[in-house]
Amino acid sequence: MSYLKLILKNPFRNKTRGLLAIVGIAIGIMVIVALGMVTGGLKASTTSTLKAGAAEISVVQTGSGNYGSGRIDESRVTDLLNISGVKETAGTLRATNTSTSGSSTADVSGSSTGTGTTDTSSGQGSFGGFSVTGMDPDKLSLAGIEDVDGALYSNESTNEVIIGKTTSTNLDKNVGDTINLFGKDFTITGIYETGNFMTDAGAFMSLSTLQNLTNNDNQVSSIAVKIDENANATEVSEAIETAYPNELSTTTAASMASRMNTALNTIDTANWAISLLAIIIGGVGVVNTMVMSVFERTREIGVLKAVGWKEKRILGMILGESVVLTLIAAVVGTVVAVIGVVALLSVYFSGTIEPSFALDIFIRAFVVAFVVGIIGGLYPAYRAARLSPTEALRYE
């Protein structure tokens, strides 16, 4: 029998203890992998918000805040074109359709945020409804919508809508189907996909139709601004705010993204802190398990010494057993995390956030497990290796 097989045989001599140790470490590994998959998924969806064709600046009513319910007079959409550096503008009205089945009351929440392009914060998804944006169909590229499977709605239409890929999947609706929004039946003319998880979980229709439906005539909730190629987004933003003090506030897509990144970096740091905690807790568990195991096998270790085993070989055996435990835990923790995250995201986020399967998440989990195995096994292994053979053999 090979030395490796011998090492593999030992961790399960006491099945309960071996399993408990594995569960303890597996929980830590599971947390590491799960957090990695979720934050990785969030990161991927924020980077995709910075699209070439999309608007760089989002203009809202001053004081309404990012999540506010501000309103801007629609005339500003054309007014802003006069500001130097502004290439294109699009008025956007956003409302939340709370009843996706559409049979009962259609409540306009009034909550509207940024533009369709840069908004990553309102987090509606399928929680109690989804966000409907009213926008000129010619301007959809400013919202990051480049092409549509099917056809766009026309500007004059009052009963046409396009829906995001995620909405389509969630509601099981396709081109040609009818969808009830704000108490009115709409025909789905197309399905779009932008890669932004928020945008893809919404729907777009003609601005005037949404204005009528939600009693917001001549009003928009935000204006998407596309700037000239050689213009500077920050400078143009400042120019807009200077031109309309106390009326308009701006957010650039870049600053939005960087704010998002800061948030994600915080989560990353937390992820590492939790990993460290998992290492410490798991490590203590491994030390405990292996110390018990060595203690119980004192006589046996005396025999190994009597038959001529080197200290190094005894050390290697105990360390090996410890690493076997933690690596099994890594496999168990990873499998549970993958299944759990995929299930949870699809149930609670209906696929709006795609979990990340980046290799480094899994490498990190296994490196952590390996390190815990080595660190946790070191002390018991050293003790076993240094046992006095006569004392060990006298041990009852």
Binding site: M1, L6, V303, K305, A306, V307, G308, W309, E311, P389
Partner: protein, 233 residues
């Protein structure tokens, strides 16, 4: 035993596989003098039986010969190696010594065959060669058919036979047996004693055995008595 063909003045030292002079070992800060100036010589190929009351230092003596522990004082040379100066004691034990203890000390989660293979991990043998050698030894103790059994399923005598196979597997020059029949009934003990004697003759290995069995005198080449950490004359 006299096989010294080139017998001359050096004959004595060449023939003595164990040479012990004035060996001392104490425990508990000198309160317990387990060995108290012990002298002993054992010839190569000899079957020596050690007797003596409990606590007289017999096990301590065997542990010194097998380099499981180091003496406080005195001289001990085994198989040509000065154990007071040797550094790689594990290598010495692996190559020269085979231990048989009162308790079989088999590893409970390993099969009989795997237990016999244990001492060979420090050798250069491949796993196939290890297996082959272990099977050969199991045959010589008549346990081939139990090779895949777990030790707990064996009788006391069978376990001790496995331990004997394990002790012989590395071709040691000395077998050190510390009350190998102490935990067995007299009939089984008799079988184990005879097996050890036969293997000692067949493999031409020196056998040093601590035992209380009175009839061992008929088998051993020589019997010494230990009392208070010394050989009695």
């Amino acid at each position: 035993m006299n096989n010294g063909v080139e017998g001359d003045k050096n004959m004595d030292t060449e023939e003595n596989i164990i040479e012990i002079r004035n060996l001392k070992k104490s425990y508990d800060d000198g309160k317990i003098k387990a060995l108290n100036g012990l002298d002993l010589e054992v010839k190569k190929g000899e079957f020596l039986s050690i007797m003596g009351p409990s606590g007289s230092g017999k096990s301590t003596l065997l542990n010194m010969i097998g380099a499981l522990d180091v003496a406080d004082e005195g001289k001990i040379k085994v198989a040509g190696i000065d154990l007071t100066k040797a550094s790689k004691l594990n290598e010495f034990r692996s190559k020269e010594i085979g231990f048989v203890f009162q308790m079989h000390n088999l590893i409970p989660n390993l099969t009989v065959l795997e237990n016999v293979e244990i001492p060979m991990y420090e050798s250069d043998l491949s796993t196939d060669q290890m297996k082959e050698r272990a099977l050969k030894l199991l045959k010589s103790v008549n346990l081939e058919d139990k090779r895949d059994q777990i030790p707990t399923k064996l009788s006391g005598g069978e376990r001790q036979r496995v331990a004997i196979a394990r002790a012989l597997v590395n071709h040691p020059s000395i077998i050190l047996a510390d009350e190998p029949t102490g935990a067995l009934d007299s009939k089984t003990g008799d079988v184990i004693l005879k097996l050890l004697r036969d293997l000692h003759e067949k493999e031409n290995v020196t056998l040093v055995m601590v035992t209380h069995e009175p009839y061992v005198g008929k088998m051993a080449d020589r019997i010494v008595n230990v009392l208070d950490g010394k050989i009695q004359n």
